[in-house]
Each structure stands twice: as C-alpha cells, then as structure tokens.
Amino acid sequence: MLDCTSKEIRKRAGGAINPAKTCQPIGAMYAALGIHKCLPHSHGSQGCCSYHRMHLTRHFREPVMASTSSFTEGASVFGGSANLKTAIKNVFAIYNPDVMAVHTTCLSETIGDDIPSIIKTSEVPEGKLVIHANTPSYQGSHITGFSNMVKGMVNYLSRATTEVKKEQVNIIPGFVNPGDMREIKGIVEAMGIKYIMFPDTSGVMDSPLTGRSVMYPGGGAKVEDIADAGNSKITLALGSYASSDAAHLLERNCGVPEMVLKTPIGIKATDQFLMALRQGFVKKIPYQMEEERGQLVDILTDTHYHFHGKKAALFGDPDVVIGLTEFLLSMGMKPVHVLTGTPGGVIGATVGDFEKEIKELLSISGIDGRVKAGGDLFDLHQWIKNEPVDLLIGNTYGKYIARAEDIPFVRVGFPILDRSVHSYLPIVGYRGAMRLVEMISGALLDRADRDAAEEDFELVM
C-alpha cells in the first residue's frame, strides 16, 4: 500500500499528491443546503455539480440536491449568462425552492461571468430569492467555499431593521456535521438563550426515512431568521476559517459585534464557548452543562492511561484540526504531525494563521511537532515514516496510510466515506468530547488487544 512513498523527503514545488482538501464549490453547496427550502446551484459545467453531490451523498448517505448551468463549449467561450437565466427559470418552474443559492466554479470564474448582473436580469418569481457567492476553485479549499457562501447569505439576506439589538445570539457553526449542529443548538437551548444558527443542515442532511420523498426537508435555517440575524446582539463565529468572514461582514453591514471562537471541540474550547454565551447574555450556566462537563473530566481521569503520552498524527480541515489538537494536548497526548490541505492567507480572507496557532498550542505543552497548512497526505505519510506515531486521526483517505504503516486510525472530519452514523453524532461540546475519547481509547485498546501475547491478554483494561 502506497509503496511509492519514500521515507526520504525531497522538496516538492509541483502540485499536490493525495490532497488533504478539495475545492470551494462543495463547501458552498453544503452551506446552501443549510438554508430551509433552498436549492444550491452550480454555475459551471455539470461535472462539478455531479462530483459535489456524489461526494456529499457518500459522506452523509442522504440525498443531496443541486442544479447546474450545464455549460457547453459555446457557453465557455461566450459566457454562461444564457445558461444561468434558463436554469433559474427552469428551477423555479420545476423544483420550486424558496431560494436558489448560486455558486461558481473555476470555469465561470475564469470566464468572468458577472453573476449579480445575470441574476438582476433573470426571471425570478415573486417572493422567491436568488443569492450567490463567488467560489473560484483555484483559491483556498472547500472550507473557503463554505465561508464564501455563508458570507453570501449575510450579504443578500441579513438586515439591521431594529433600533435596539434583540436579546439573541447568531451562531455560525462552521463546516461541521448536522450532529454537531444539533449539539451546539442543544447547548444554547440548555442555556436558555434565543439564537439564530445559520447555516444549519440538521433536519436536511440527517432526515428521516418516512416512505415519502421530500425535496426540501424540514430543516435548514429559515430566510427570515437569517434576515433577522442583522438584529442580534452578537455573532459567535465557530471556527475562524469557515465562519469568521461572514461574522465580520455581519458586523460591518448590520453592526452586530462578532466574536470568533474555536470550533468547540474538547474541554477548553467548549468552556470558552459557554463562557462567551454567559458573558453575552449574563445567564447562569445550567446544572446540565456542569454535569456533562464533570462527567467528561471524570472519564478523562478514569482513562488517562489509555492515551497519555501517545503520539498522534492528525489532518483535516483547519478549524476542526485546531480544536482536535488542543483537545489531544489536554488529554496528555502528543500531536506530533498536524496538517491541513487548506492554505493560509487566502486573498480577501480575515482568517487566522493555522501554522502559528498550532505551533503555539504545541509549544505550551513543550512539543516540537511538524505543522503544515496547504500540505498533502504525501507529506504527512513521509513525516510518519520519519517519526512513527501511535494513532492517526483524519478523514477516510487516512485509511491508506493507516494500513501502510499499521497505525490505529480514528475517523474524524470530512469526508468519511467508509463508515456510517458518524454524521449523526457530535464531536463538539462535552458530549462530543466524550465520543472522541471513546473512539481514541477504543482504537488504542483494540490495537493493544490485537498485539498482546496470549499470556498478556487482559480481561479488564
């Protein structure tokens, strides 16, 4: 497996080998699915749209609806305006969404199609909306695309209409699973705080089987709520890469102060999330949350010897990896290789610096690890060959490295294509942290059981 990956590392200046990212539009499509009664639309040739739908469908095992402008060679040369206008007309006539959320691809971006002008001159039925985001595939990654579409939502929908800001919090959850979004909502509800979450794919990307086909499931952030986000007291952007740009725009356009937090993975980041909610709304932290937190600490203490001091390699999307790194450190583990495919310093983005942030976390714990933004899995595999680890954490693509190097493997992030149920269960909040501990402990102990000599095989561990 992966027999051509050598231990010796040579500097590469070409492209990527085994990427740890994909391109913008899929993130935009996922974000758009988090609007109630919205049909995402891909303005490009139809291959992109099919690929993105397929990939999301494989991760969630759910229908993923989206339309496309289906560029031909003619449109690619002379512009895709006619294609988009036809598509808008057909989509509303045949599929009747409340909102069409248009994103672009490398094709329409290279041509330079002016989407706002095309939308303005299109036939949009009364009471229906078309919003858009530019999502050039040759910038950033799918996380950038998610961020851009959320920014598009704010841009088109959010308005400040009240004199006094309402006692409600906006939450931009970032590129996480519906199970995570449910957990975040559960926490805010437990705190008794009124909130608007957008995008929100719970109830869309985890919909029940009822025997009836529903084109637009019950979930998703409602347009009127995204509009009302302009009247909220504060915006909590969870994950700077996926969420901070939209929060920033909301502050600029509607005067809603933003607060950028880590994706609440692990005990520290969840604490910070609760503290931010308490600070903004002066509420007492309810006993339920204190109990959950105490249970997590209990579990961590009970089981610390399962994982303490173990070396880990992890990769994935920056916001999730930052949260995971911090949690592994607070478990006493050693994340020695940390990598994301998403590059830092994307033009126009206000996001943080992944490498700096991770290095700071590591140095506090006195760990000298390898860290890279814009890296790929070929890099990560070579690092592991040079400094082996006890555990690998990442998306499904990591299974090839895990097999090649015989490393226990925990699947976290996007996409997970070879296991099910993961998208229903959270990794965020205290309960999500419990689940991570279970997965990590389980993987390490399964390995211990497998490798133990018969006389060392234990009943109680």
Partner: protein, 536 residues
C-alpha cells in the same frame, strides 16, 4: 399502472413548454408494431433540470484512463477534479510489483490563482518532473480540466517536451469538462489518445498464444473483469489486454495482435474497436458478460467466431460445469425476486446489460435508459449514418486511421465475416430498444423530476442507478441498487457475478428494515376512553 401517451403527456405538462418539447423527444414507449422508434440522445443538458450527468474529464480520466494501473495520471487543474476522481470508481487492479501500481495516488497540479493569471504550464512541467522522480512510471497521462482550455495552456507541447526529456511516454488529453455534453466526449478523447500513442507501440507481430483476444470496455468494477478472465482463460483464450480495468500500459501496447476484440461497453470503447478493425483488420464482437444467459451466449459466439471444434467443446464443458455450480444457488434467490419490476438507469451501457440478469431472476425491467449514450446505443448501429453531430459535439476530434501497411491482416475472410454476421453481433450492436418489452419506457438523460414522477406512475419494486438518487429513492421506501459501484459489492459479471447479484438484490427485498417505516402509533388508534363531566 402502465404508462401510455396520455399520462406521459400529463407528466410532461408540468414542465415549461420549451422544456416539454425537448424532453418529449428523449422518452420513448416501446412499441414493436412500429418499424423503428427514434430517440433523441447525446444532446446538451437542459440547465437547471437536475441531471445525473458528469463531464468530459470524468469520461476521459475517470473512466477510460484512470484504471490503467502502471501509469501516473496527472490532472492539470484546480484540486477538485483530481480529488473527486481519486479511488471513487471501483476499478480494481493488482500488480506483481506494488511499486508499479499507482491507483492509490492522486496527482494534481493544484492550480492556484496565479496559474490562472500567468498560465499553468510551468507548474505542469514541475509536476511531471516530480512524478518521474518519485514514481518512475513507464508512462504519464495529463488530463485537462475546465480552465486549462480557457487560459490557453498548451498541454500537448508540454507533454511532448516532457516525454523527450524523460524518455517515457507522456500523453496529454484535452478533455476539458465543458467539451461535448457529457462523459461521452471524454471517452472519445481518451480512445483517440490511446489509439494514437499506445496501441500498436509494442513489438509483437504474432499473438503469443491461441485464440488471442482483447476485452474492450471492461473496467473491472468490483472485480468484474477478473471473473470474466477466469472463465475465458479456463476455456483456453489468451487475453492480451483489458481496456482498461486492471489494465496495463505495457500490455496495451500489443493490443494490435489480437484475433478478436470483445466489446462489453459499446459506448465508451467502440471508437477503438472500430479503429482496430480498420487499422489491423481485427473484427470486434459485442459481448455481454452480465447475466448467465448473456454470458453463455457471448461464450458461444466467441467459439463460433474461431470455429475450432476443440474450442467449441471446451466452451460447452466450462458452461456445463459453471451452470451446474451456480444454478441451484440462484434458484433460491429467484423465489424472493420473482414477479417484481425494476428501473435500470445507468451511464451508457449497463441500463441494457442488466435487463437479462433481472429477467433470469424473474424481474421485469419496466424503465431503462442512459445518462449519455448515443442513438446507436438505443437504436442499434445501423442508425449511425443518420446521426448528425450537433454544434455542441462537433469540436470533438475524429481520429482517422488507415490500414497498417505491415500489420493489417484480415483475421477471417470477407465471406465468413458475412456469414457470421448473420448469426452473431460481429462488429455490430443492436441497441437497448430491441430487447425491451412493449409498453416499457426508454428514457435518455433522466432527471430528478422524472425520477420521482416515473416512480409514482410505475411503482417499481427496485430502482437501479447511481449514488445521487439512491437515497432519494430509498426515502420513498423503495430499495435502490447502485449499478455503477455495486454498493461496494461485486463482481456482478460472469457466473459468480450472477450469484452475487442475485444475493444482493434478494437482500434489498428481504431486509427487515422496510417493515419499520411506519411507526406503530401512526396506524393504531389510542385506546378510547370517555371523560364524563362532573366527575372528580
């Protein structure tokens, strides 16, 4: 309920007028009393219709080139195209030398904004140089993606120069996603390249064994090709190369010495089949190794072509042995499947191929179609002279080959060819429509709206298609079987494949989970009690 013109029209009336006019031509209700039934196919997709189609890049790199295991496939473009075509199609491969199987690697030039602005040729050069250094492959393909054509990167000359520099074959495929109207354009572009730069580059002048054949248009999904090879080798055939499942560049170079080319997927590989016939005089036989009856028929047709009594006898021996083994197993599954109906909507060939296998299980295919097939796949190759290439496909290059001065050889006499053509599909394919029952529906480029409407009208027991509609259909309480990736099972081809398929389809029907769709409280009334007023 069966479908007639009236309720088909009622369904189409829900479309805007222009869309209705277009879609009507892509839907045919089989009626054998008509001399021929024409269907419109291989035309541009209607924007916004929610098609299942992909692009030319997917057809070229994803389908035809990607399975070649000893070649490094470089994708020149932003990251997505390479990423989505990385290990997602289940074209299996194994290699004696694990360092000569590159299928688990995904190589992209990962174009950035600066590459779009200043051109990406330099980065492509660097990427190819690094690929040579790291992988030491005997060949490299470079596939173009959407922006490459627009910004004018000359990948053909970059590849030529790199090939000279490294002394290996570096082949560029201009398969930008917007070319043509579907994956089909990509098949054609890939066929042209393989014919021009690979096939015939080997030194063999004579086949290395008896009954030498190539298998064309077989991508070894879930091990299909291996199951077919098992049987063919057992009968005594020499398999030179498979295009391209578990395929190898080194083998492909000698594809010219075969005595017969088998064509499984007509749509994706008929160009090479035709060109091999024209250039080397080798006829092709349309085969179908899906389903026991089709497999047997294909094996007998092959034996008939070679006309050797020993081969014929060995063919019957193997058929008898395999039948005795698999028939009793399949018999038990038939009990579960019998009397049911199916939809079969797959890319460009399986919509047809699986109908026979369904029939053997007692399942009738009531609707079938293709995403991107052409009229000849629907109506048969005799309509080819009538097909007009429209504006959207006219820029896909035609490769014209001429008989090879040294190597062209008629494999069988013209007289025998004519005789055989009366009996077997030699250099011919009769299309999907002929095999379908009267009243069944043939749909080209089925979309989401029609998927739901046809399900409501025809209420099939199983829907076989791809991943994008699988979960849509299952939400409706109808089992859905993926016939692109076999739901991660397989092989489905050949004798063993038929057993696997029967088992998997039966499992679709027999799964207890379907019984839980309605919660018990939905159909059970609450125990009724009465509250009498005035009582405490």
């Amino acid at each position: 309920m069966s479908l007639n013109e009236k309720n088909l029209n009622a369904m189409l009336d829900q479309y805007p007028a222009k869309v209705k006019r277009n879609r009507k031509k892509h839907i045919v209700i089989k009626d054998s009393s008509l001399a021929m039934q024409e269907i419109e196919a291989n035309t541009r997709t209607i924007p916004g219709i929610i098609t299942n189609r992909g692009c030319a890049f997917a057809g070229c790199k994803g389908v035809v080139l990607g399975p070649l295991k000893d070649v490094v496939h470089v994708v020149h473009g932003p990251i997505g195209c390479a990423y989505y075509s990385w290990l997602t199609r289940r074209n299996k491969a194994k290699s004696d030398d694990p360092e000569k199987n590159f299928l688990t690697y995904c190589v992209s030039t990962d174009m950035q904004e600066s590459d779009i602005v200043f051109g990406g040729e330099k980065k492509l050069v660097r990427t190819i140089d690094e690929v040579v250094e790291i992988f030491k492959p005997s060949a490299i393909t470079v596939s173009a993606t959407c922006p490459v054509g627009l910004i004018g990167d000359d990948i053909q000359s970059v590849a030529r120069e790199a090939g000279k520099r490294h002394g290996i074959n570096v082949m560029a495929f201009s398969c930008e996603g917007y070319k043509g109207v579907s994956q089909s354009a990509g098949h054609h572009i890939a066929n042209n390249g393989l014919m021009e730069w690979v096939i015939g580059q080997g030194d063999l002048e004579e086949p290395p064994g008896k009954y030498a054949i190539n298998i064309l248009g077989e991508y070894n999904i879930g091990g299909d090709g291996w199951e077919v090879e098992r049987v063919l080798k057992d009968i005594g055939y020499t398999i030179l190369t498979v295009m391209t499942g578990n395929g190898s560049y080194e083998e492909l170079k000698n594809a010219h010495v075969s005595q017969l080319n088998l064509v499984q997927c007509h749509r994706s590989i008929n160009y090479i089949a035709e060109m091999l016939e024209k250039k080397y005089g080798t006829p092709w036989l349309k085969v179908n190794f899906i389903g026991i009856r089709s497999t047997i028929e294909s094996l007998r047709n092959m034996a008939l072509y070679f006309g050797d009594p020993d081969l014929l006898a060995r063919t019957e021996e193997v058929i008898a042995r395999e039948l005795a083994r698999v028939e009793p197993v399949i018999e038990q599954y038939k009990k579960i499947c019998f009397g049911k109906t199916a939809f079969s909507f797959v890319g460009g060939s399986r919509g047809h191929h699986y109908q026979g296998l369904y029939e053997e299980l007692g399942i009738e295919t009531v609707l079938a179609g293709y995403e991107f097939a052409h009229r000849d796949d629907y109506e048969g190759r005799e309509v080819i002279p009538q097909i007009k290439t429209d504006a959207d496909s006219k820029n896909i290059p035609e490769l014209h080959v001429t008989p090879d001065e040294k190597r062209y050889r008629l494999k069988i006499s013209e007289k025998r060819m004519a005789e055989l053509q009366e009996r077997i599909p030699l250099s011919n394919y009769k299309g999907i429509i002929t095999d379908m029952k009267d009243g069944s529906i043939i749909v080209d480029d089925l979309n989401h709206f029609e998927t739901e409407e046809f399900i409501k009208l025809l209420k099939p027991d199983i829907f076989s298609s791809g991943i994008k509609d699988k979960y849509v259909v299952q939400k409706m309480g109808i089992p859905s079987k993926q016939l692109h990736n076999y739901d991660y099972s397989g092989p489905y081809a050949g004798f063993n494949g038929a057993v696997n398929f029967a088992r998997d389809i039966s499992m679709c029907f027999a799964s207890p989970t379907w019984n839980f769709i309605d919660p018990p409280w939905r159909n059970t009334p609450l125990l009724e009690g009465t509250i009498e007023e005035g009582e405490a």
